[in-house]
């Protein structure tokens, strides 16, 4: 309950307060969000599997985001930033779909 509420409050805060992100970070925010989504779906799947742990979730959430940003940052430094960001998005997207499929199986048994 708190989790859903917190999510909604967070989105509302982001829209209303319009926190100014450092300009260097604006290009990484989409990647961060995709990584976070991946962590989120992974957590839901783990919860349905009964292996969910809030500690694991928190750590994986932030480490996922950090690693994704790091990969893209390094890519930017060596000149393949846009390609690497595409790669990260593709990989995370595949993972999200895999997790979503597992969740679907857990809920609908199909």
């Amino acid at each position: 309950m708190f989790a859903i509420l917190a999510l909604l409050v967070g989105i509302a805060l982001g829209i209303w307060l319009e926190p100014s992100l450092p300009t260097g970070l604006t290009t990484y925010l989409p990647i961060m969000i995709v990584a976070a989504l991946d962590a989120l779906f992974g957590a839901v799947r783990a919860w349905f599997d009964g292996t969910f742990s809030d500690r694991v979730f928190a750590v994986s959430f932030f480490s996922n985001v950090l690693i994704a940003v790091l990969i893209v940052f390094i890519g930017d430094q060596i000149g393949v930033g846009s390609q690497l960001s595409t790669a990260v998005v593709v990989v995370l997207g595949i993972r999200i779909f895999t997790n979503a499929a597992a969740i679907r199986r857990a809920i609908f048994h199909a």
Binding site: M1, G14, E18, W47, A58, F62
Partner: protein, 259 residues
């Protein structure tokens, strides 16, 4: 009661399974977990709050800023390159079109010059052939010949003298246009030029330099003295505008062709 029984059974199952493998949960468990908040969910809530703020920020950034604000430097450079290349291409095209336009314009100009030239030639030829009327400064010469002794050769001499003096157009009696092929015949009283009778008094309109033309008629042994010898008189008036309306139809050439 069946609910309680089920819960009991599940608890029992949990107890037995807890040791070896984690239990799979269902949607109903999720709903129950959501309705019964626990302390461990606070970590989840905090993480999701961060996530929510990120999503919200990104949404507003996307909505507020132009698409180039979040674009990568390499992409921007490529966009700039594309724009520059396009600009160069279009500038080249402008240059080419301008050159074409100039060429066409000068073509029009030269065509105009050629046309003016041709028109000038046409005008002078038309005047020379006597196919159009003409106007200009010149003299009006009247020969009074009461004895009717003026001959064709006298007139022909007068015409030749006028031509020598630079006459451009010659007309006799407002009806006969004198051109290259004009002929004179007959003698006193029945003069004919180009099949048209020349009645007395003989009026000659000549376009050219008035002074020269008058001198061409008045010199000793010229037209005036000849006519005076024959007992007639000649009056000459220099005029600023001599209008010549007599024209001549051009015979079609049967043999000659421009070469």
């Amino acid at each position: 009661m069946p609910d309680e029984n089920e819960v009991e059974a599940r608890h029992a199952a949990d107890d037995t399974q807890a040791a070896d493998a984690p239990t799979a949960r269902t949607l109903r468990d999720l709903a129950r977990a959501l309705l019964r908040p626990s302390a461990s969910q606070m970590v989840l809530a905090a993480t999701l709050l961060v996530f929510g703020i990120g999503v919200g920020t990104q949404l507003t950034t996307k909505a507020a800023d132009d698409p180039y604000a979040t674009a990568r430097r390499a992409d921007l450079i490529q966009l700039l390159d594309t724009a520059t290349t396009e600009t160069n291409r279009l500038e080249n095209e402008i240059e080419q079109l301008k050159a074409t336009r100039d060429k066409l314009q000068s073509g029009v100009d030269s065509a105009k010059v050629a046309q003016t030239e041709a028109q000038n030639r046409l005008d002078s030829l038309a005047i020379l052939n006597g196919t159009v009327g003409a106007t200009g400064p010149g003299i009006r010469l009247v020969v009074y010949d009461p004895n009717q002794k003026v001959s064709a050769s006298t007139l022909l001499d007068a015409v030749e003298e006028f031509r020598d003096a630079g006459a451009e157009v010659i007309e006799i009696n407002d009806s006969i246009r004198v051109v290259a092929s004009t002929w004179f015949s007959g003698s006193g009283g029945s003069l004919v030029a180009d099949n048209t009778a020349i009645t007395s008094p003989i009026v000659m309109d000549v376009i050219g330099d008035g002074h020269s033309l008058e001198e061409a008629a008045r010199f000793r042994g010229g037209l005036v003295s000849q006519v005076q010898t024959l007992g007639g008189t000649v009056t000459i008036t220099q005029e600023d505008t001599v209008k010549i309306t007599a024209v001549r139809s051009l015979p079609k050439n049967s043999y000659a062709r421009p070469a």
